[in-house]
Symmetry: C2
Subunit: 99 residues, 2 copies
């Protein structure tokens, strides 16, 4: 791969009492996102010690692909619904793979 | 896969001025770790906004495989050398994949 892909860990801190409400929203987001041409990897994990702590492990072809994701109709529609159940702001770590 | 694998994000917060010192240590750790039978995935990323913030994205066959890793000779030898250059404690998020 010539240019380095862009990796991202996106973390949500959801009210642990609202997990049942967000799971179908996450599922819809994941299904639509994996269809995006610039999406190399998009996986949702849950913290075993905090059920409200969700972590997306993402890999994008480039910055433009991530921008397209954030401005996509499904992101703009679904993410605000998820955020309703958040206890605090998310955490976003943009990374590149080194080893 | 019957039983769910164990996923882990292990984060180090290294003095940004000491990155050159830790990279060869990380490389030795990654090479040895990928040989471990219970290691499914072991990848090192670097925060694009903080060069001292390193993130291991890991997947282990099970808890016992992660325990074997932590008690391995290469882990016990190399990790303390890396930690010398840390500014603060690491952060460890044990997770399971849900989507």
């Amino acid at each position: 791969m010539g240019l380095k892909s862009l990796k991202l860990i996106a973390e949500d801190f959801i009210d642990p009492l609202k997990v049942a409400e967000v799971l179908p929203l996450y599922e819809a987001l994941v299904v639509a996102t994996r269809e995006e041409p610039g999406c190399i990897h998009y996986e949702l994990c849950q913290d075993l010690n905090n059920p409200g702590h969700f972590l997306f492990i993402e890999e994008w072809r480039d910055e433009a692909a991530l921008d397209a994701h954030i401005t996509s109709e499904h992101f703009q529609t679904i993410v605000p619904k998820i955020d309703q159940y958040a206890l605090s702001d998310g955490r976003f770590t943009h990374m590149s793979k080194i080893l």
